[in-house]
């Protein structure tokens, strides 16, 4: 288990400034998919109950249909939780010294990377589309000096605010690094 007070490779005097997950709207999409995949077959079952009730009495067709139905609902439950796990384990942590990017892609791929704040060149907040504008969420891209690959904060809440906060800490960290070098 990860503890926010004991980050991986934690440095002395390092503390968490911001802990981020994707916006709750991502969770709403999973919830809607779950509701649709559950309510739709149940509604069809209720509508065609006269026929279905006869079929499930059949000695051969009955167990087969019931088994398929059970497998369907178990699959939906598992699918929803796999999606939720994907959401829950995608995290971005901004500390006073680093940015940590932890991404879970499916069950068998996990990417964990970190970036020193002092090496951040610029950050771009992006809000696109109706829902992103309405619910104030979007993407944040963090660009470093030497790398082509940018840190991508996906569908986070209030990307503009996060960008401002990040850039403020980047400036502070750069000043701290310069100060440390001067005192040496």
């Amino acid at each position: 288990m990860m503890n926010l007070h004991h980050l991986p490779n934690q440095r002395p005097n390092e503390h968490v400034v911001l802990f981020l997950r994707r916006h709750w709207f991502s969770l709403l999409r999973i919830g809607c998919a779950f509701a649709l995949l559950t309510i739709l077959p149940l509604s069809l079952l209720w509508y065609f109950w006269n026929s279905v009730s006869v079929w499930i009495q059949e000695p051969f067709l009955g167990p087969l249909l019931t088994m398929v139905g059970c497998m369907y609902f178990l699959s939906i439950w598992l699918f929803v939780f796999l999606e939720f796990t994907d959401y829950y384990l995608d995290t971005w942590i901004i500390t006073n010294e680093r940015v940590l990017n932890i991404e879970q892609e499916g069950l068998f791929k996990r990417t964990s990377s970190e970036l020193d704040l002092a090496s951040v060149q610029d950050a771009t907040a992006e809000t696109r589309g109706f829902f992103e504008t309405m619910f104030s969420y979007g993407n944040l891209f963090v660009q470093t000096a030497g790398e082509k690959v940018r840190f991508h904060f996906k569908s986070i809440g209030h990307p503009e605010y996060v960008k401002e906060l990040l850039m403020r800490h980047v400036q502070e960290d750069k000043q701290r690094v310069v100060h440390t070098k001067e005192t040496k």
């Binding site: 288990m1 990860m2 503890n3 926010l4 802990f19 000695p59 051969f60 009955g62 167990p63 087969l64 019931t66 088994m67 139905g69 059970c70 497998m71 609902f73 178990l74 699959s75 439950w77 598992l78 939780f81 796999l82 939720f84 796990t85 829950y88 384990l89 995290t91 932890i102 879970q104 069950l107 996990r110």
Partner: protein, 93 residues
């Protein structure tokens, strides 16, 4: 033109094998899911709530499946001839 199978019957409990295989995959994926949540999740009550919700839902669904599947006569076997009879009747029409 008519088809006929030899005197072979398919017992209904053979479908339980498929269900068992499915449940094995389900358990495997669930364990991987819980392992990821517990290993990489943020320590706290929220994490335990998530794991218990998933386990609770799974237990409820498996119990409902058992409850729905138990009343059937799993020793019943359908002769393959009966399946071809339906086909042959349609061809004859």
């Amino acid at each position: 033109m008519s088809f006929s199978f030899p005197e072979i019957s398919i017992p209904v409990f053979s479908f339980l094998g498929i269900f068992g295989l499915y449940m094995a995959c389900y358990v495997l994926y669930s364990l991987f899911n819980i392992f990821h949540l517990v290993k990489y999740g943020i320590a706290g009550n929220g994490l335990f709530l998530i794991v218990f919700t998933f386990l609770g839902g799974t237990i409820l669904l498996v119990a409902a499946s058992i409850f729905l599947l138990l009343p059937y006569d799993w020793t019943y076997a359908i002769p393959l001839n009966q399946i071809t009879d339906v086909f042959n009747e349609n061809v004859a029409l």
